[in-house]
């Protein structure tokens, strides 16, 4: 299987390849020598399984994500569909900001809110929401969001965890895309419409978590 390295992050390497004729991504997780071997094996296996489960569960819940082709625990590799003709929401947002395309930025924010609302109403916690972990296919009106990178995901109904999920995105979003506070609010508003039963509690938790940061008793 010929692979081309496309990204090397802290977690592992991402390769572009073909799986029996289908364009694919191979995600190979590193062994981390600083970890206790039992912890490393356990964590890696856990994350791979979490990713596989999340991909299946998202798909079943109507949230677009890559198809899963193979889970190779022994080699620490996951092989999944390579989504063609897409860019990360991070790049897309930058492009729209550069063009001052307020209309499509608004539309994008609504789409993000919708996907996240659906994600959480299905009790899927992504665990690492950033604009680099969302792909967008198409442009403007005809675009669709595809979620990726579920290595830290898990299933839970607890509002706190969903609040943390949104908090992580908020911090990542605002630090990567300056002056987008209003846009992020649109994401949250649309989220509320798409997670009707749970949104209120999640918003309360989000506020609590934000406050915790500012008012943490930092001693010593």
């Amino acid at each position: 299987m010929e692979r081309v390295l496309i990204k090397q992050g802290a977690e592992g390497k991402l390769y572009s390849s073909e799986f029996y004729g289908k364009p694919c991504i191979v995600k190979e997780r590193f062994t981390k020598s600083y970890r206790h071997p039992a912890l490393d094996k356990s964590l890696t296996t856990q994350r791979m399984k979490a990713e596989a489960r999340a991909l299946l569960r998202c798909r079943m819940s109507g949230i677009e994500c890559p198809a899963l082709y193979m889970v190779d625990i022994e080699s620490r590799c996951i092989i999944m569909e390579r989504v063609l003709n897409s860019v990360t929401v991070r790049e897309y947002t930058r492009t729209l900001q550069e063009k001052d395309d307020a209309k499509n930025l608004l539309s994008l924010a609504k789409q993000i809110g919708e996907v996240l609302g659906r994600l959480h109403s299905n009790n899927i916690i992504h665990g690492d929401l950033t604009t680099s972990n969302m792909l967008i296919k198409g442009y403007g009106e005809n675009s669709r969001i595809i979620l990726i990178d579920f290595g830290l995901s898990y299933f839970d109904s607890v509002a706190e965890d969903k609040g943390v999920d949104l908090y992580v995105l908020e911090r990542a979003f605002l630090s990567t895309h300056p002056n987008t506070e209003a846009l992020f609010q649109v994401i949250l508003d649309t989220y509320k419409d798409n997670n009707k039963t749970g949104a209120e509690d999640v918003m309360k938790k989000l506020e609590e978590i934000r406050m915790r940061g500012r008012k943490r008793t930092m001693v010593g």
Binding site: G9, L39, R212, M218, V219, G220
Partner: protein, 335 residues
């Protein structure tokens, strides 16, 4: 030739140190140690600081062979920290500043750690892991602020260690964390604990509840020794810290990592961080217990930088605050 004196007492360590142009002339310290199984409370800690302040001050001046007239600026910890101890230390600083007729600089405790770390190790622009009993943050400098990239969303890692030490009734002398570190060296059997990294942040309270509940039972049943549990706890929480640090480094494309704060004394944490750094062709910088643990010289060092930029405080502004975010300070002295 600027000489600064720094007063630190935000937790259970009272430290008064003197720095002259990047050289530590003296740095005496006294720690309030409680009996095993007990943590330290604000009122008693403040009392301890009041009792030892003058002795430490005298020691600082004598060791440095400096007279009050030679001092250019008085620096003290404004926060963050525990209210009563902070205030009792600040009172001493304010008093000597008025007595000796010197300007005062109010310093952020975390920035004290960072600036001391940079001074002692020579690290230029590292990703900083600041870990202590009260703080757990991953910090990176950007545009005049020490930005917090990742942090704990509940308790600090040092707090987690300290509380577990209480469960095991380990001695608090010299510090609970130190005793966990020593005991962990004898650990053999690894217990899997909840590992909670959430994006760039970490969470320790779940892990702590888990191990607090199970430890007595596991030890009683003979399934795990206290050493095994200490080892397992360290392996897990340190791996979490190394992971978020690595993520920040990857994000900031940084080739240097600096560990500061009391938990930074832990050699095992340093080893783990070094391994991670080496795999990324990066360098680890760490200090020893003189500077990792809260001390007065670090406050003097940060204060000195601030002083040189004209960041002094009028006496009316020299209050203390329990909550003081690292990113609130304008870091004028760096580009």
């Amino acid at each position: 030739m600027v000489i600064a004196i720094g007063f630190e007492g935000s937790a259970n360590k009272l430290g008064i140190g003197i720095i002259q142009d990047g050289v530590v002339l003296s740095n005496p310290r006294h720690t309030y140690i409680t009996p095993p199984g007990e943590g330290f409370l604000p009122r008693d800690t403040a009392k301890h600081h009041r009792e030892h302040a003058l002795d430490i001050l005298q020691a600082a001046l004598q060791e440095a062979k400096i007279t009050p007239e030679q001092i250019d600026v008085v620096c003290y910890t404004k926060g963050p920290g525990m209210g009563a101890p902070l205030i009792s230390t600040a009172v001493v600083a304010r008093t000597v500043a008025q007595l000796w007729k010197k300007p005062i600089v109010a310093v952020n405790h975390c920035i004290g750690h960072i600036e001391m770390g940079r001074l002692i190790t020579g690290a230029v622009n590292p990703t900083v892991l600041y870990v202590s009993g009260g703080n757990t943050q991953v910090i990176s400098y950007s545009e005049k602020r020490y930005r917090i990239f990742g942090e704990t969303i509940d308790i600090a890692v040092g707090n987690c260690l300290d509380r577990f030490a209480r469960v095991l009734k380990l001695s608090n002398d010299p510090s609970p964390g130190y005793n966990i570190e020593q005991l962990a060296k004898k650990g053999e059997k690894f217990l899997e604990l909840p590992y909670a990294v959430k994006g760039m942040d970490v969470s320790f309270s779940g892990l702590l509840s888990f191990i607090e509940e199970r430890a007595p039972v596991l030890i009683k049943k003979g399934e795990y020794t206290p050493a095994d549990l200490c080892m397992s706890l360290q392996e897990t929480i340190f791996a979490m810290l190394v992971e978020i640090t690595e993520r920040a480094m990857a994000h900031c494309c940084s080739q240097e990592v600096l560990i500061v704060g009391g938990v930074g004394c832990n050699k095992h944490l340093q080893d783990m961080m070094r391994k991670m750094a080496e795999e990324r062709d990066a360098v680890l910088y760490a200090t020893d217990e003189r500077f990792c643990i809260d001390n007065g010289a670090m406050i003097a060092q940060a204060g000195l930088e601030m002083f040189k930029c004209g960041m002094t405080s009028p006496l009316d502004d020299t209050f203390c605050t329990q909550r003081y975010r690292t990113d609130e300070v304008l870091v004028k002295w760096r580009d």
